[in-house]
Amino acid sequence: MMKHRSSLVPAIALSAIGFAAVSACTNSGMQPTGGNASVTSPTVVSPSPTAQIKFTDQPVILIVKNAVVTQSSGTTYTFQVASDSAFASVVQTKDGIAESTSGQTSVKLDSLAASKDYYWRARATANGTTGPYSAATKFTMGAAVVLGAPSPIAPLTGATTSRRPTLRVTNASRSGPAGAITYRFEISTTSAFNATVVSVTVPEGINETGYIVTTDLNVNTTYYWRATALDATNNVSSTASPIQSFTPNQSQAEALAAQIGITLWPGAAPTGQTGHATMGEQGQYGAGWQPQTLYYGPQNVFFQSPDAEMLRIFDLLDRGFDPVGAIDWMNSNGYPTNALWYPPPEKAVIGLHYVYLASRGKVVVNSIWDIVVRVE
């Protein structure tokens, strides 16, 4: 029996030797460099690489997609911002930021100096393991340029306008090394500007900047407009100007032009409010402005009245132009005319090919204009 018991000693010794021998042959694979958990680098979300950030958009918020942590509990993040890609000059460190359960973790930076490039990165720590940093990501802080909101000049809220109004603002105030300023004019059918009809950018004018709408807006529709000053060089924009509304109205001439199927102003359109002239009715003073065919005796021809030329001249008079100004405007804006103004006291008529546009009572301003068929 003693002999048998003595077998236990070599048995255990053999076991240990065998175990050690096999173990010695099986060291392979990666060696752990962290604690209990394995931790990947977080993924940069925002600011994205090479992002340009307005100085006024501070504080900058850094956002990462959470790291993969194999044994997650109490994962925290460290964010670093440096002025060089090697992170030798770290300007801000945000440590111990608790992981968000939303899948993305963020941190708000303190104010950064203007007009500089920055690099940022982040890493996660969990269960004694500090993961690698995310790739360094560059962003650029814009210049410390501040643009004030432009002030609307016209049209102001409640105004009625032509179908192609001129939007005007005073130039925006500015501070800092601003670049060239442009203005973005926006017109919308909603005050929230979620249905934009027009969005154009125009260079800055002297003292004020304007934009003439180039397409006809709908009549009797309320539109909202605003303007925003932009500094593309520094990627800076102002807040928008206070929102104004206006309603385009169809002038007498426009309504009549539409009735006879012509476009009154296919190119440049005059500005100014209507209400300075009245179309004379058919009667003792003239043939009236209703669409009709008239007869010109000297040449024995019938012609359509009114035609586009008559309506355009009337529309200009309606907008406050005087007769000479109206003729000049047409000739200089792509609507050539041979109209001649015969001033009072003799006549006070505008001579066209077949008719005169005669101011009733020889009153030129805010007058009634009659169509009179020429006889000579």
Binding site: S7, V22, S23, T26, G29, Q31, A37, S38, V68, P132
Partner: protein, 211 residues
Amino acid sequence: MKRSIFAVLAWAACSGVAFAQSPTAADDARGYVEVVAQSAFGNVTSQSFGGEVGFRVARGVQVYVDAGYVRDTTPTSLGASAQAIAADITSKGGGASYSVKQPVTFGVAGIKYLFPVDQSTFAPYVMVGGGAARVQKDVNFTVSTGQVSDYVTVGTDLAGNETKGMLSLGIGVDWALGKVFVLDLQYRYGRVFTSEGLNINRAGAGFGVRF
């Protein structure tokens, strides 16, 4: 799998009784030594190799030592973690692939009891033992861009090794092949007391000599 193994072992035990007229009893010798090849199964199926030596200490009772190497015992959690990390690296443009293996080396000693079946060439047995096991977490990542360390810091959950105590239970049948050789049909259950706990099931055969 387990069911079929038990069925084979039961058949072998019964066969031993049936052939009770055979010339040599399985537990006649002072001891034995054998090499073992097994199929290891659990979450993954792999192979196990090792050796076993035993010494008779009383009639039907042997002290045995079993040492071996199981090629892979990867649990589900290890593969899932590696897959999650590889996917994250790939999403960052690293183009990662990975391999996962968890080999185990072990050594146990214990008592083996052979059921008395006089004059039979078959000797069914049960055994229980304890020892230690070394669990190697063998996870490898390969990235197409940069270094693995650019993307992940690997913790002890995916790399390195730990040595923990091990409990081993076994059943089997020793089949005497003449006076010297023995064929051992066996099943072994091992429990390694790692932090997550690890079960190792092995079934196979040993071929040895008696002395």
